[in-house]
Symmetry: C2
Subunit: 596 residues, 2 copies
């Protein structure tokens, strides 16, 4: 099943919801206006449709394989990654001083969505490399930067994030890997890391592992964790590759999905110690790792949108082609294509609305990120930063949770054929299941939302966002027309539910933490749902204005209909979530542990 | 991961919600009281825990395989099926005159739940055989009965249902297989059937295919379909096996889940015609097939509960064992088992509540089935029949839809380990995806609910059930205590939402079919949710009464807590569904087909 990048919808979002022309006013982004965005996206679409997307099924059928420490990726991946690197795609958002293109996240996010739709497994290698780059840019010494950044940004080398150990997943306090300082200033690193995405592969000359470990004598818990660069091959002074480091892949996992992406068990220091280089200062590793994590969390949120989009396109194609049963309204005599049937339409509209809503949220958040980093006014930077930080758990948590729903519907639209692997729809259902888990499970995102993003400021940012939503409601009410009225009405109900829950979280977060955190994931789902609905409401306002100018009728009418559907079918879920959170805090923990 | 049958909860349901002692008053079921139920269930549990459940992972790792028309099942399956047959399990619910044990569905359903939890793939062979038996009992001639029933009921032979063809899935009007009458009274059958579960295998001596086909000159559409018995091996007059029939398995499917269960493509008549015997009368095949389908739909609903239970047990075991992070309430210093964390508890409680709710609905429905068939009073039979028929789409649709949610949560509780196939949790997530599809998709069940079960009688049965629910609310309100009050309150809200939707369906079903059927699946989910919540409310009343007599404190308190959780966390979803159905009928079909 081929993939067609939704360039038009991405540009709509960038232009109207993320205000790309304002992004292009920011220092350093002067060339990054709509024209640039369009040119980049079109090239990105072409490359991914032609080169990367066709490898998606192959990756599932011929996953990466391991033999004697060597990982061989799916046939075609190595060549495709070479093209990816040569096209400059790895450097899209990175600093020009290290060879990047320095484009804003607003454009970069759209490109990432396309890449991930084309091939989730393939896209993980650049995704993790981005994280390694980010950490080095932020905390690496000049020497580390000089040695590694150019080659990571050019795609000559790739990067990994080594956090997890068998006993330490979400709980990094339990990390046991250790690092011993050496007289020459470097360290010897020892330990076992698991679940290391692209921890070993054959697509690049070198792999730069960023590894969490404890220096001897460091404090217990997360305050005693440091971050190290541990390259697969040591790097000579002239930049050429030196000796093989003592970091080896002892196996890769047999997974439910994203099978082409090798998930490595890495063994550090079994032969005397892996040479590592401290990033920043000792015992600040978690802080640096969070830099990588935050970028990666947003990116994983995009993956949720991406896999949903791919699943949707496939479901639409099948629904247009499969003939089965007479429409209930009698509009066709005899059997018709199943897209005529109301429940198939309901499923397709649900998929579409969830995708467009989460996409709008993600791109809007990206623009805030850009302003937070580049705006000349400190207050504007701060406001955008807090907005962005509130959005990250929603982009990560909500977009990935809805990808489970969307891909399940994708299979369901196919009926029995969906269950047959050759059809390809089931791959998305399998692939997406990791998205609610890695880079912090939905619960971890939700705890972040409850604690750092809501409790810490007494709900101030949350309420400020609610106030913005209220303005959109007023504009919709003023606009008239049934869709706008429906969106205004449902948004108001959802916003009130959100405010009730924000109050509840602020009141209970510290006093009654079990009752608050029992509602953390429902709160995340409520907030993500509301914000996506809000952004579709904003989209409706734009579409209505464009229509009145006679623009592109079909596209803008579809945008209005999708917002209308979202409001009537998806936003009301917030009422159920509010009720569960506010009334149900106690019954979650009521059953004694041994009664399960 | 081992499986422990929930015998205690099943007996609770049979005794208190399904009133097994009343079932034992029905003619023919005199020996089928609680003692019998307990004895049968304990034996069933032991057999399935020891023999069938251990083959579940093996079935996933070493699926059935096809070579040159021969299907070899997973090692161990053949021997296990022999034990299954020898234990008399195939005949549990079937007529003693053909060698069955003649037990009520109330007991049979509980045994089926256990078997399906033990091994969904294995259980499909008996499930389809049950369907074939049912059709022959109802519509077969004495000769067909004499030839086939004993051996099907003893498990010496197995049965299949052959409906689907490449162009005819949900839409049986499109069936093209044909049957030519022969001078000797039998028929020659020709055609291709796909998705035939256990259409070929090595577990029994003979396979009795029940095949839909058109006799030459029959009317078009579903009114021209007849049902035929087409045995794999012809049967001699003395009951011994004769010649190989012209029915061959040309391939089996590569599926997302239930991999041990061979899904066959069968080719009938490629070498001159497969010998078939008409079941009942010509052109009434669909009617007979629906007898099989209705039994099978209920059974597939049980499968949803079964796979959910298995996933739940595995998630609980992992949550008790995996140590990760400090509890937010500070109840443990340092990292604790994850069952301490509120969100893990929320996930486990959600799984538990959905399972106990759907189980209560299924067993209650089974008792109605028994009364509908055996009660001496015609009016009682009729009332129970309409109740049962209303329940079938809920048992099938809601139980299987919630199995998607439950098994996804099962993976999620495992975190990253859930995504690794060796853990075993992902198998349930893959296996369950077929349940919302086969034996009629959720949409097909929902159309049945909207049309035949609600529209046809103007919502009379639906409203009668709502009236019963209202009585339960009154009893709960009178009982006092926070859990009972919460359940009464949430039930009342959900019941009102249900009544609104029933009125909407009655008003729109014929006048505005697109708007009605756009809400068909949400209506099914609402009704299924409400009825499960109602049955848990009934369970709460029983548990409270038992507690006041000092019985089994932990068990009954857990029952109350689970009902409480269901009411606060699951029942409120009905409000969102009501809103989507009643307000959203138009926006589902608003987007033009070519705008997708």
């Amino acid at each position: 099943m081929s993939y067609k990048a939704p360039v038009k919808d991405l540009l709509f979002n960038m232009k109207h919801l993320a205000n790309i022309e304002a992004v292009a006013q920011l220092p350093g982004f002067e060339d990054a206006g709509l024209d640039t965005a369009q040119a980049v996206l079109e090239e990105c679409a072409k490359f991914n449709e032609d080169v990367i997307a066709p490898l998606n099924v192959a990756g599932d059928l011929q996953p990466s394989s391991w033999k004697d420490g060597v990982v061989t990726t799916t046939p075609g991946f190595k060549e495709a990654f070479k093209q990816y690197a040569e096209g400059g795609w790895q450097g899209l958002q990175h600093a020009p001083e290290f060879g990047g293109q320095g484009l804003p996240k607003t454009i970069g996010a759209a490109c990432q969505e396309i890449l991930n739709s084309a091939n989730l497994s393939f896209a993980l290698c650049p995704l993790l490399t981005d994280g390694a780059i980010e950490a080095l840019v932020t905390a690496g010494s000049d020497e580390l930067k000089a040695t590694y950044l150019d080659k990571l940004i050019s795609g000559q080398w790739t990067g990994t994030m080594n956090l997890t150990e068998p006993q330490a997943g979400s709980d990094l306090a339990l990390v046991r890997s250790r690092a011993e300082p050496q007289p020459d200033g470097c360290y010897k690193v020892f330990g076992t890391k698991i679940f290391i995405t692209y921890g070993e592969h054959d697509m690049a000359e070198n792999i730069i592992h960023l590894v969490l470990a404890r220096v001897q004598g460091a404090p217990e818990g997360v305050k005693g964790i440091s971050l190290f660069v541990v390259p697969k091959f040591l790097v000579n002074a002239d930049g050429s590759l030196g000796a093989r480091n003592d970091a080896h892949c002892v196996s890769i996992e047999h997974k439910l999905g994203i099978k082409a992406s090798p998930t490595a068990v890495l063994q550090f220091g079994d032969n005397g110690g892996a040479t590592g280089y401290l990033v920043g200062e000792e015992n600040r590793g978690l802080e640096y790792m969070f830099i990588m994590m935050n970028a990666a969390r947003y990116a994983v949120g995009l993956q949720g949108i991406s896999v949903s989009e791919r699943s949707y396109q496939q479901a639409v194609a099948y629904a247009r082609e499969r003939v089965q049963s007479r429409p209930v309204d009698g509009s066709v005599k005899g059997s018709a294509t199943i897209i005529h049937h109301p429940d198939v339409r309901r499923m397709l509209m649900t998929m579409r609305a969830l995708i467009e809503g989460t996409r709008a949220t993600a791109i809007t958040a990206a623009a805030a990120y850009d302003a937070a980093h580049k705006h000349p006014d400190a207050q504007v930077r701060q406001d955008n930063q807090t907005f962005y930080e509130f959005m990250v758990p929603l982009v990560k948590g909500y977009s990935t949770e809805i990808s489970q729903e969307v891909t399940a519907l994708g299979v369901q639209v196919h009926g029995g054929m969906g269950f047959i692997e050759e059809t390809g729809s089931a791959q998305h259902y399998r692939d997406c299941k990791i998205l609610t888990i890695y880079e912090g499970t939905t619960a971890i995102q939700a705890n972040d939302l409850v604690g750092r993003k809501t409790g810490r400021d007494g709900g101030a940012v949350a309420k400020a966002i609610a106030a913005q939503i209220e303005q959109t409601e007023a504009q919709l009410s003023a606009l008239g027309g049934e869709p706008a009225q429906a969106v205004a009405r449902e948004l108001a109900l959802a916003r009130q539910a959100f405010l009730d829950v924000v109050d509840y979280m602020v009141a209970n977060g510290r006093e009654n933490p079990n009752a608050a955190y029992a509602g953390s994931v429902p709160y995340l789902m409520l907030a993500g749902n509301l914000v996506a609905g809000w952004n579709l409401g904003r989209a409706l306002l734009v579409a209505s204005a464009q229509l009145s100018q006679g623009e592109d009728k079909a596209f803008y009418e579809a945008k209005i209909t999708t917002a209308h559907f979202y409001a009537e079918h998806i936003l009301p879920r917030t009422a159920a979530l509010r009720s569960a959170i506010v009334n149900g805090g106690h019954s979650v923990m009521e059953l004694p542990m041994d009664a399960f």
